[in-house]
Symmetry: D3
């Protein structure tokens, strides 16, 4: 693999394709404007300064744009920075795609589409099946590209869909052990629960919160989407209210964003599976970066805990 | 005024028109079914037993039905009870209306309709005006008859509309002192903020929570109604999201039912005016029942406090 | 099935084998002692009075004793009571066992022993395997008979072992989806996590808290048992500390009884699986008693929520 | 208007009258003392260093002193700083007053005095009227000059009196809608509620907390002042206890500084009006600095929220 | 000792001097008024009914009155009650004093007065000494008779003074180990800290809360008393503010009634000694009623805990 | 006394014996490794950089090692730093001991050993006495050298034993005033309560948390130690459970680390004495650094409060 942006040291020169994650204009003490960019590739990100920028620069170099950059690595307070010497927009001839520069789910979109369709196919209640299929179609493009969150867990391209696929598989295993669970509600609820994020967030990459995201949040947005879709499709009945409830309650507590707690057993279980998959995602990734015998960095979304990676397992592996 | 149901003493015989507030079937130890009814008139309510009831009785005597009752007042653990001797449904010839038997707002429905129309007329933004007018029309009948709540404040017929009218007047006074406030958002937000209660509650009298009320709550219900109405009317734009936000945030904190806190200044003020009017309603009614120099009963919705009714005011009145 | 104690009505005479769940001596206003007993069979329990009891009665009729009772059903404040006319201890000739009178897990002890041994067999780390096997042996009898708790979930004979078996199966499914999980720690942790209950509680039936239970609690008791066993067996190493940690942290938060939160990923997952199985147990049993279209009674251990049993499922079942 | 201190850029030279807001002595690594000053004018404030200061400098340049300063703007970590070249105390001949250098209420002191006297005149209870008038007289000078707080709301010269005047007007409007309210208690309570700040804070400008402020707080200080004044004036009776209670409870909750919650209806309403006026003050000023379509900075005293300034209003204004 | 009121059984006749603890008038279902009294002697208390009472009875039989009662013990829901046959006020000729009928501190008032004077004598700062002596004089009578609280700890005659004496002795021991402590502040603070209770409560026996008690609380009352006394005595200086602070902060946290936390080291220690003495008082009395090997009743003021009385101590005593 | 490391200024050269408190390896932007050390002597500590370190350096310069250092004081962001020119390990010929470089308790180890033995001698219950003596012996060396904590209170060499000695003296005084207290439980409980810190922490100096410390905590560790020792010594009985309980509950609340609250009166009192001694330690030391008339720095472990050091005391001292 090509050397990524985070692997260069002070004093080195770089010439790379990078994605603009954020861009902010300021005025230097000499009165001239400059841009502070965050640039990223799959290896991570770096802060960069484009001094003496022109109005054209400000217009061109906006978030979510791929650029070709030429510059020097410097350090500021112990952190690498990029001093840009040359920068330009890319064209088709560069043969570089945004997806080459961002992390993404470890499963192809096609595979995820197929899995989800299979689960929808297994939904027996025709109203639930139709509604789920329709809403997935309506938001399909974004749904398979958006991250599950801006940070914390599954915060990469297609993270939302990958999180849903993992939860569906988990739900299938759990429902096999507890036959009282209604898989129609579980599967549909899982597919819909976070779908409002395609409206709450600004995009698949360089994502920020939209106005609707800030004022309503993905939960209320999605409860609405279900209500509007059901009305258009002429579907009525308790199923709709229950699906809206499952979405509404999936964060479980008011202080976590759900105005009603789960009052349907599948809503309670969905909340727990959501939690389980998100935590496994965070833990696995933190563990990968941690040697045996050491503690992970603090995980903010897990009450700021550091987890220990046991040493003894290795000894065992040696023994067996 | 005629002697109400709560003014009779043990041993007295009554013959009154009463409204069934709730009805519950049980089986006595002799194996025969009986009904436990709560019966009410404007003076208050009483528990009543209808022993050895027939299947026809069970069908007839359901909540929200006006009946003619003949019976004796007994006491059980220091509380009056009614032993029913005779009971029958009423007909047109009885010339009794449910509204004769329930408490209601101190303002006529017509007067409240007029006031609200006047405020809607003062809304300058055409989208907000149309949407508010349409939603009020759609739910008009229930809106002017429902209580504002099942208990605590404005829990009488037309309490919802009366609470809205009081808030509108309050908003007008406050906006006159703070001209930065947008009265369009305030007036529309006030009219819509609790409108979801017409779906959350079962009726104007003998109200209980509907399934939608329990699973979604009046806030989410109303955010939805706004979304669906705007879609039907082809209205788009920030106004809709902001009105939805005002409704969504009017309880101010997650633990009080609002998944987002107010993030628009009119949303913040609306929450405060809602609170002020509800508290004045509770305080005024508690004070009316309390002699100077004494404390009110504990007010559950005001942190269980008892308020003191000062003595000194009277002395002053005597002086002046 | 024979008519159980809760199915009799006021005025009926009974003659049954019953188990004493609790017994309390008082003195009547005439100065004579009497016993207040709670008696149970599989159908449920009833309060009973044995008036004018002798010192021999007091000695004989203690908790966890099977008796033959003859008496009359009366009612007191709407609740059935038993007025005892005759009572005696049972002997071998009665052919009645305590297990005939108490609810128990829906799986035989033998089957649970086999399952658990199979899981222990799959533990690859020899220290963990030996320690788990030894501790299970040491407490085997109680472990397979005790309830998982005094109330809330799995509160029946063998409830503890049944809960453990369910969690082991669940852990196997989940570990199949998330291969980063160490099944040695998960399986051993699950078998040991609640084992301290065999010391915390007084017995398999009519269970109350022991002094150690009240002063130390099952978590500290079990951390101790692991420490003492490891010392006796000469096992040292991080594995022991980690197993102690998994037991110590399995309630996840200080206010729920764990002085340390999970800091090992398997400890975190074990906590979630424990929760999931306990909640499924409570929800399934509450749902069984609730008709479609109605809400369950309030479930104290689930934040006092009532869960809704959907109606629509039935319609679907009818259709298919 | 003259260019204020915050409008200069790096490299510019300044020569301005400024007010010392705070002054701190340190010793540089070369062993010589220097002063770190915060200097302000109406436009805002700046950090400044006076190197190699003499003992006379330390004595002269203390908080709340007006100085004439000559120096250069530099930057340190992106923030402007002032390197002082020359500094001197001002004299009468400079014709500069402290009030030229600090922000103040948008109403003249005379106007506020008149308004408050008018409200006191409307108090009918003679004891309440005399006590209020006496206490206002006693603290008059400070009362009309102090800020309402060190930060957050009405934190400018005469902010305290301006906040009181706004609340009085608000109280008048609200009492007109809810005639049960006793305006004597409301008006007197409003005038007295924050009067303790004239003892809690050190002055009208460059305010810090006094020892009494830190150890007792303005609420306890004022409850005391009322008690002492009433004793001196020979006023007895419930009115005094009630006014003390209104002051004591005006922060509403123990964790906000009130050892008793409001137990008089006017105390409850006063708390709400206090809150409403403080929030309107914070919101209006934050909104003034925020363009339509953007969010305000985070407002610490409003749960750290950022408020949105709607875009749509402008469009409407254009339309109408 | 004569048999006390709590030692009689159903059916027995009594003829005793008793103290009225509370009295409430009601109207029976026959329309005639009756009094519900709580009557007490040193052994405890009993509920009593005086049927068909006259207006003279209502005037005579008020709280804190000693009466001679003749009546029969009955039971109601398992609790003894007294049916009054004859009742009369007592006169000098009865030779009965209220103090014969109420529990009181295990130390004479004279002894407590002496102890306290001795401690005041040891205060070296003249201002603190004079102020403490003056305030003690001013409230002396009530101070040596009132309970420390209505319930929970030291809730008997002279409980307040006894609690203060215990704390003074404790303070002396602790100050001997930590010489940094200022005994002037400690001794004066201890004597004054709860003195406001002589205004907060209605009397030494049958105590309830006064209006000042309910609206201001003993802490604010006492801060005021110190302020007024210092003003009268012409004492000024930091000592006064600090003593007021010690009283103000002695409950340590806002939610326990102190608007400021301790910010003087003696205030912090005083809070801890107050707590220690109150808890020892509650624990000792609960333990006296509890057999070895058993748990005390739940102690509401100690987080509702039940404490265990160890068995093993006895064995040791037997051994030695 | 020799000039300590914190008393040097920028530009000065030092040549001192210092103790390494912590050591961390990093890689500079030039790719070469360097060590960041914290070095200390009795006066305090300083950050130091050892550039271009060799593998031998990394091996030698680890925490808790005494070194001889030669270097220059520089400053970085207003804080002194040490640029190391020469560094070497010390040998016997340097005649420097670690104890010369660290702060320690104001009482000799011998004196503390004697005091503790005296208290153990006063324990009358033979089981408690033997167990306490044995555990103290087993951990004696560390027990008399370790700090009581890593920060906050008694965080110096022998701080643990000194804290225990202070608490024992305090317990003796308190038990003299409240004879109901069992001194056997108090003395033994005090000696054992924090003994687990000898396993939780890494050493007497430069202490960090061990793996057992992080995963189990000193409370669980010590409950275990008591259990294992009792088992080895063949001691059984309630005493052991009660001592384990006293240790388990000595932090009083779950959120402070005790899974059970005190349920034995001596456990409750021990918790309060622990608190009292820790707070006196923190307050005394903070006061020593604070001039009269000023506030201490914020004390993190005392709710972040600043305490006031009164001025008036001095005046009094002058007067008397």
């Amino acid at each position: 693999m090509k050397k990524g942006i985070v692997h260069f040291n002070e004093g080195e020169h770089i010439n790379l394709y990078l994605l603009i994650k954020s861009a902010q204009r300021s005025v230097a003490s000499n009165g001239k404007p400059f841009l502070t960019l965050i640039l990223q590739d799959k290896s991570g990100e770096i802060d960069a300064k484009l001094w003496d920028c022109t109005p054209q620069d400000e217009e061109d170099y906006t978030p979510d744009t791929v650029v070709q950059v030429d510059g020097d690595i410097t350090t500021f307070r112990g952190k690498n920075q990029l001093r840009i010497r040359g920068i330009r927009l890319t064209t088709g001839q560069d043969h570089v795609k945004k997806s080459d520069l961002v992390a993404s789910a470890p499963m192809s979109i096609n595979e995820m589409v197929d899995t989800m369709n299979q689960f929808i196919f297994e939904i027996r209640n025709p109203n639930i099946q139709r509604l789920t299929r329709t809403l997935l179609k309506r938001h399909q493009e974004a749904f398979f590209e958006f991250p599950a969150a801006v940070k914390n867990h599954h915060e990469y391209v297609s993270g939302l869909a990958y999180h849903v696929v993992s939860m569906l598989n988990l739900a299938k295993s759990v429902a096999a052990l507890y036959p009282a669970l209604d898989t129609d509600l579980l599967y549909s609820g899982i597919i819909l629960h976070d779908m409002g994020k395609v409206i709450e967030l600004s995009g698949a990459t360089a994502a920020s919160y939209t106005l609707e995201g800030k004022l309503l949040g993905h939960i209320s947005i999605m409860v609405n989407e279900i209500g509007k879709a059901a009305k258009e499709m002429g579907i009525e009945g308790e199923e709709i209210t229950i699906l809206q409830h499952i979405v509404l309650s999936h964060h479980s507590k008011p202080e976590w964003g759900s105005p009603k707690p789960p009052l349907i057993k599948e809503a309670e279980i969905l909340h727990m599976l959501d939690n389980l998959d998100a935590k496994m995602n965070m833990l696995s990734r933190a563990m990968e970066k941690t040697k045996p015998g050491e503690f992970t960095e603090r995980l903010f979304a897990m009450d700021n805990r550091s987890f220990y990676n046991p040493l003894f397992e290795q000894k065992v592996t040696v023994d067996s």
